[in-house]
């Protein structure tokens, strides 16, 4: 049983909470910081018809890009899909619905969901026909803003360098990216960590995500793809 202090479980146990048709949210930016073991679990267990919220569509064989390539998504909310041509193809032929959000606005929408707000007021995109479309406008202190609505998910999946049994997380360099935001915004949050450490081993001063946001901690099996910059 998972108690509030014993969240370390197998990927099979944690993965059971992700079901067909759910909205999931993944930390990561260009594949860096996407949780590889959880993504492989979804592929192996034929989880499909997902709505995915993520910064981008990864690369065809990297990170969340594998879910795109294997056609597991019906909708993607992202800022950029240019690094994964499969996402563009599926969008063009109607297989995949894509909602584009400016990158910083997307990060704030996720953060807003994660911190219990209904949305944020953003002036980026005011006067931009594509970005404004369908959004309410408000004027505050004489400045015009768009209401960017908050995003949450049934399940958030994140990648961290270290995690303890309470779910406290420490990230690694730029693999932090959207992970701490995504970790807060899931009804259930699964953290895939490189190294599981004992309670008390993480300095409270260095913890980025407090464990209260995390429901399951699973051991990462590491990245099993070749990065775009690696020689073939």
């Amino acid at each position: 049983m998972v108690t509030k202090l014993k969240k370390v479980v197998s990927i099979e146990k944690a993965g059971q909470c992700i079901k067909n048709g759910m909205t999931i949210m993944a930390g990561g930016f260009g594949g860096v910081g996407n949780p590889p073991t959880i993504i492989d679990y979804l592929l192996k267990n034929n989880i499909k018809n997902l709505t995915l919220i993520c910064n981008d569509a990864g690369f065809p064989h990297i990170g969340v890009g594998k879910l795109v390539t294997d056609k597991r998504l019906t909708k993607l909310i992202a800022s950029h899909i240019g690094s994964n041509p499969n996402a563009g193809k599926q969008m063009t032929n109607g297989e995949l619905e894509i909602e584009f959000s400016p990158q910083g606005s997307l990060a704030e929408r996720i953060r807003a969901g994660g911190v219990g707000l209904g949305g944020v007021l953003v002036d980026v995109g005011v006067g931009h026909p594509f970005v404004e479309k369908g959004k309410e406008k408000v004027t505050v202190n004489g400045r015009q803003f768009l209401i960017e609505t908050a995003l949450t998910a049934d399940v958030s999946i994140v990648y961290a360098k270290k995690g303890d049994p309470f779910g406290n997380l420490v990230y690694d360099t730029s693999a932090r990216n959207t992970n701490p935001l995504v970790a807060m915004a899931g009804d259930i949050t699964i953290a895939e960590v490189e190294q599981i450490v004992d309670m008390g081993e993480l300095d409270p001063e260095e913890i980025v995500t407090p464990g209260a946001f995390v429901d399951y901690v699973v051991q990462s099996e590491g990245v099993n793809w070749q990065w775009a910059w690696e020689e073939k």
Binding site: G104, H128, P129, V131, D172, S174
Partner: protein
Amino acid sequence: MGMGREVRHSIAKRAAQEIMDGMIVNLGIGIPTLVADYIGDKAVMFHAENGVLGTGPSPIKGEENPNLCNAGGFPITTVKGAAYFDSATAFALIRRGLLDMTILGALEVSEQGDLANWIVPGKRVPGMGGALELAQKAKKVIVLMNQTDKNGHSKIVKECKLPVTAKACVDMVITDMAVFTISDQQLVLEEVFAPFCVEDVLAKTNASVVITNKLLKGDIK
């Protein structure tokens, strides 16, 4: 975009002259990335919108940390004083106006400084990424691009035909042929690169352009 290595590097080298000691600068993908190679001994904090301030040169082959990358997904190093943070904080720096400069690529730039660099309807729909925030909020926006597209048409235009990323945001355009500035919605030809002359540049610029006095005194007869 069919541009030789030497030309790409000379554009980057010219752009690097705009960077002053102590600046915070974001470099886009492509030619802008090369700018970092030409800053000499200036102390510059390069910003990566995934969540790094203080990116350094590319790592030595074999010493890459796959988790430590720029926004384009390429391995980087960090300089002394660098910081890691989440992407919301990365965009806080941008939205709050703390970036002194952003250097990016473009599909079209209008004579008023409108920037089109995020979509070719029906052809290329990659999404905007962080382009809106960078174009709208950086103190100075410099565009590096070819003077013309692959059909020989000017990429500097009276009005953008492609959907605009942000209006009246571009301050400077550096191409393979020339340097332009845009202030008060007026396009000014500032420099012409050898072997071209002012007439060559004007012939490939489909917009109203004022020629700076120093060029009038020099090149034009």
